[in-house]
């Protein structure tokens, strides 16, 4: 079942810190907020410690809590055969489950400078970027422009289309995961452009946030995912 796949450790590479717990008799798997692999202030000055703390402890935590609630309700509705309740829960699952999935990726997409944040991608991902976008600068420019153009809340992604074997840049609205734009899309880098991701520091100037966030993008993680999916 799709929901269980999200929770499996194979799907979320390296996320050993994601713990899950069994609840109740039926044993549905629910989720907890993982710790960040760096201090809240470690991404400064690109992203302030204040933002990182609220983003992680409040926003992501809320997605986790609400996702768990929705899953419990879904479980009951499914076992009761209440089809309309199941359908009604889909938006809560999409919002909150999507929020959880997206932010798990996001924390991995970021790294302090002294741990490689901002270092350009090497290896096969670096070459693929040059092939598809001309250069890393070309990719950065495209993603920043598309991220700035997202109306309302959403994400801008660098993804790998596993079937077509090419890199794509795309955006999603609200907390829709990249896979909602195409079943064969694997997220490599996602940048949160919800206002909560930058407002306390950059206020209304989203382009400035997008200019600076690249200084802490963890290309090593993106390369790992890329290499794994390509082999």
């Amino acid at each position: 079942m799709a929901i269980r796949c999200v929770a499996s450790r194979k799907t979320l590479a390296g996320l050993k810190e994601t713990s899950s717990r069994l609840i109740g008799f039926r044993g549905i798997q629910t989720f907890t907020l993982p710790d960040l692999p760096y201090d809240y202030g470690a991404l400064e000055p690109a992203i302030s410690g204040e933002i990182m703390q609220i983003h992680h402890q409040k926003h992501h935590q809320t997605y986790v809590t609400n996702y768990n609630n929705a899953l419990e309700q879904l479980d009951q509705a499914v076992s009761k055969g209440d089809a309309s309740a199941v359908v009604k829960l889909q938006s809560a699952i999409k919002f909150n489950g999507g929020g959880h999935v997206n932010h798990l990726i996001f924390w991995k997409n970021l790294a302090p400078v002294k741990e490689g944040g901002g270092e350009p991608p090497k290896g096969s991902l670096g070459s693929a970027i040059d092939t598809h976008f001309g250069s890393l600068e070309g990719l950065v420019k495209k993603m920043s422009a598309e991220g700035a153009a997202v109306q309302g809340s959403g994400w801008v992604w660098l993804g790998l289309d596993k079937e077509l074997k090419k890199l794509v840049v795309d955006t999603t609205a609200n907390q829709d995961p990249l896979v909602t734009k195409g079943g064969s899309l694997v997220p490599l880098v996602g940048i949160d452009v919800w206002e909560h991701a930058y407002y306390l520091q950059y206020k209304n100037v989203r382009p400035e946030y997008l200019k600076n966030v690249w200084k802490v993008i963890n290309w090593k993680y993106a390369s790992e995912i890329y290499e794994k999916e390509c082999n």
């Binding site: 609200n174 407002y199 209304n204």
Partner: protein, 301 residues
């Protein structure tokens, strides 16, 4: 900086239907708040929606909504919508129209034209500043209270539902109290025989820039739940912002004035019988939008 003529918050002028072309527009002002198109030194012609200041100073809503928030929300976000809108529409068919006309035209039955986002957000924000006031809050009175009690059971019940709607509007958007008349339960279906019971207050949630004008509802009150509206004062605590909004900021006086205008308009439309001309085509997915007879819509369509 241009001196902006500030219109006092008074009842919006009503439009009277002109002949067979029913006008939906509710918020037209006597003076279209427009400059004549002017040619700047470089020879560039500029369109001219002007910034409309809120009917209170930017620090007047402290401590419930900080000056800092208004500096950014009004001074940057709203300003940017107006400036970008002007750039978008200059020299096009959307130029020389009122803001509401631009909103309705660019909504384009749900297949939004590029100007919609800026136009609707400009409209929404102007409506929002006027929905709140220093020393706001409390309870509505008179006809407004009567209708709230009729349509929601009680004021407390209304409050609960409005706050819950605003809190659960995922992503960016707005929550509205609106007056719905001459319409069936489906947003785009005209009611050919509206009864008193069909004219009612509704709570609606909209995403991003959408507002209930596009469904021919009469907005009465709005709360902005884009994060930028509350983040500096409340961070992620949207529920607290919503509580503060209802307890300390909402201007029931303005809402009441808007309701009166909406009810008059609904009665006029009924009396003129123009609604029977535009019966809903059940195959249409999006509402028909009716415009001034002097607007040539052929290019837009």
């Amino acid at each position: 900086m241009m001196t902006v003529a500030v219109t006092a918050i008074s009842s919006p002028l009503l439009l009277h239907s002109q002949g067979p072309n029913r006008q939906l527009l509710q918020w037209k002002r006597n003076e279209k708040r427009r400059l004549p198109t002017k040619v700047a030194g470089s020879g560039v012609i500029t369109a001219g929606f002007e910034l409309k200041p809120p009917p209170y100073s930017l620090d007047a809503l402290e401590p419930h909504m900080s000056r800092e928030t208004l500096d950014y929300h009004w001074g940057k976000h709203y300003r940017t919508y107006i400036e970008n809108l002007n750039k978008q529409i200059v020299g096009t068919d959307l130029d020389a129209l009122s803001l509401e006309e631009v909103v309705l035209l660019s909504y384009n039955r749900g297949n939004m034209l590029p100007a919609f986002n800026n136009a609707a957000q400009a409209w929404n924000h102007e409506f929002f500043w006027e929905s709140i006031q220093p020393g706001g809050g409390g309870k509505p009175t008179g006809e407004l209270l009567r209708l709230i009690e009729r349509d929601f059971g009680s004021f407390e019940e209304f409050l609960e539902r409005f706050k819950s709607a605003a809190a659960s509007n995922f992503g960016s958007g707005w929550t509205w109290l609106a007056y719905k008349a001459n319409r069936l339960e489906v947003a785009n279906a005209v009611n050919p025989l509206p009864k008193e019971e069909d004219k009612k207050l509704v709570i609606v949630k909209t995403p991003n820039a959408v507002n209930p004008l596009v469904w021919d509802y009469s907005p009465l009150l709005t709360i902005d739940t884009w994060e930028h509206a509350y983040y500096l004062d409340f961070e992620n605590r949207r529920a607290e912002y919503i509580n503060t909004f209802m307890e300390k900021l909402v201007s029931w006086e303005t809402v009441n004035t808007r309701l009166e205008a909406a009810m008059v308009r609904a009665t006029q439309r009924e009396q003129e019988g123009t609604y029977t001309e535009e019966e809903a085509n059940p195959d249409d997915e999006e509402p028909e939008v009716y415009l001034d007879s002097d607007i040539d819509v052929s290019e837009v369509d």
